[in-house]
């Protein structure tokens, strides 16, 4: 009998090298294998660092005007040239990274929080709660996003803060629908039924069990949504509905420079490249995360 027990113990012992790696380590490993995703992460980190250290590395202030240096072409003094007010474009782009990333992160954070809450409530409670929330989402999705953003800013008035709110609002249904569909499948799982059977409160089931099991597609979608949010903020800025002068928002910089396209094309070139690179970074990173966290969505 003792021998039998010893054999069983031998069988159950997992050799050290065969121990299961935690899922997050697996995910990290396969993320790093995707070269494009790593490039994307590199670009994003680069812009985050730039945004943080902008005041330390920018050669000039973003508001600093030297009218004698108006519309100077790129040179060793002004790497990206100057605009029609004689402001250094390189410095303004560095400071502009703060605005774009700030709008990108916080607008998406707002959409994720509200969208996830609404999606969970709609998916878990179903019936009329689901019907009402889903119809609201349908209506919001019936508008092309930039139009809905224009509508929201028309109500609130043009400013960077209101542009952020508008972008957050227009992205809510995307997250809401995503979470709702995930919750619909998760709530059928046996462990949720078990939680209900032992009398667990709805709020605890939602927050402790359903939310953690529905969140991975949200992370992927959020990364990709930051890219879209940055473009949308730039578009609102370009239309004069977002950041107001003298804020160095990249879209607003493009709008201010478009009248000088003949005399000073560099004033248009660099802010556009900055937007494109940041958005590309988030898109590449988002694609990589999707492959890792949600392989079913991989196309």
């Amino acid at each position: 009998m003792a021998e039998l027990a010893k054999n069983a113990a031998d069988i159950l012992v997992i050799p050290a090298e065969e121990k299961l790696t935690p899922p997050w380590k697996e995910a990290l490993k396969s993320f790093y294998k995707n070269k494009l995703a790593v490039v994307g992460l590199g670009i994003v980190l680069f812009f985050i660092v730039i945004a943080i250290i902008a005041p330390l590395v920018a050669p000039y202030g973003f508001k600093e005007q030297v009218l004698a240096d108006r519309m100077q072409a790129p040179s060793s003094k002004h790497w990206f040239g100057t605009d029609d007010f004689g402001r250094d474009i390189f410095s303004r782009i560095l400071y502009g990274a703060r605005i774009s990333l700030w709008v990108g992160f916080f607008s998406v954070l707002g959409s994720v929080v509200v969208g996830t809450l609404l999606g969970i409530v709609a998916g878990y409670y179903g019936r009329w709660v689901d019907a009402i929330i889903s119809r609201v989402f349908d209506v919001m999705l019936a508008f092309p996003s930039i139009l809905l953003a224009i509508a929201v800013v028309s109500i609130l008035g043009p400013s960077l803060r209101n542009a952020l709110i508008a972008i957050a609002v227009i992205n809510i249904p995307n997250f809401g629908r995503l979470v709702r569909s995930k919750v619909l499948s998760v709530k059928q799982e046996e462990y949720i039924m078990a939680a209900r059977a032992i009398g667990m409160k709805d709020s605890r089931i939602l927050l402790r069990h359903i939310l953690p099991n529905s969140i991975s597609p949200v992370i992927v979608q959020a990364t990709l949504a930051i890219a879209t949010a940055i473009i949308e903020a730039a578009a609102l800025g370009f239309l004069g509905l977002g950041a107001q002068p003298p804020e160095p928002e990249w879209g607003k910089m493009l709008a201010d420079s478009k009248n000088y396209i003949t005399q000073a094309p560099w004033t248009l070139f660099f802010p556009g490249v900055a937007i494109m690179l940041t958005v590309l970074g988030f898109n590449l990173m988002g694609d990589g995360l999707r492959d890792v966290l949600d392989p079913k969505m991989k196309q």
């Binding site: 349908d138 209506v139 930039i146 008035g157 509905l241 493009l254 958005v279």
Partner: protein, 335 residues
Amino acid sequence: MFTYTVRRILSLIPVLFGMTLVVFAIIHAIPGNPAQVILGQRATAEAIATLTRELGLDRPWYIQYFDYIGQLFQGDLGTSLRTRGPINVEIWPYLAATFELTLVAMIIAVIVGVNAGIISAWFSKSWFDYVAMVLALVGVSMPIFWLGLMEQWAFSIELGWLPTTGRENVRDPISAITNLYLIDTLLQGRFDQFWVVVQHLILPSLALATIPMAIIARMTRATMLEVMRSDYVRTARAKGLRMFWVVYKHSLKNAIIPVLTVIGLQTGLLLGGAILTETIFGWPGIGRYLYDAIAYRDYPVIQSGILLIAAIFVLINLIVDLLYVFVDPRIKYNK
């Protein structure tokens, strides 16, 4: 199919009503007195009172809403505060201009995007595949208003090949019949003007087409790769059918459904993108009309413009949904 079509159209009713509520809220949710906001800080009390009356803001909101709905049913979109003209009359030439631009952009996006996706899948992992997909990725990440400005700088200002802004030669204006200038010039046999219209269309339509083109290319490649791995494609190849026919006839048919969804969605989004493109290229479309309205705080035009574009967006999605059945007869909606 008939039942499905009816059900699908009926399901649009609450969405359309919801849209009118959102659009109605644009004026009514403005903090403070909307008439004051529209007229600005220096407006006299008399002017504010007149505009309040004119917009019907002195009545309870629900009565205003029902009036608004009633007007919409009669095709009345209100009066522009800037031009004093009826919006339903003055909006049509703008709408036609946008229609022409988005249609041309979509044709470019579909032809280039679908073919780039097909060739990328056909010669998967070749240099063409890599270049096309990197370009597609860059295309998706590019702000179209910046692309438009760069095109303008390169092809109009530096090279002088194409006109910078507008829709026609202002010295030789086109007499509008349908307001679709490509058609109007042909109807009048003015081929010189037709060529001028084409030249004006190239840059804005290319700028507008870039993002959908990139998305369509990526989607086509992904679905084609999946379909081309299937057994029936292998069988077709084994029977000695030419690869061209296997790809374009057998595979494409089965890969087209998700692509069609993307095309539908992108067509709607093009209408939103048109606001930015039209602003850059001085294209007298609905986007430009809205942009000017925003600058003048012409709220009735902002409301009607947004509502009309959103309604067209919804309609396009409906058409795409119905098209599925024709493209893929395996889809049965009667169940």
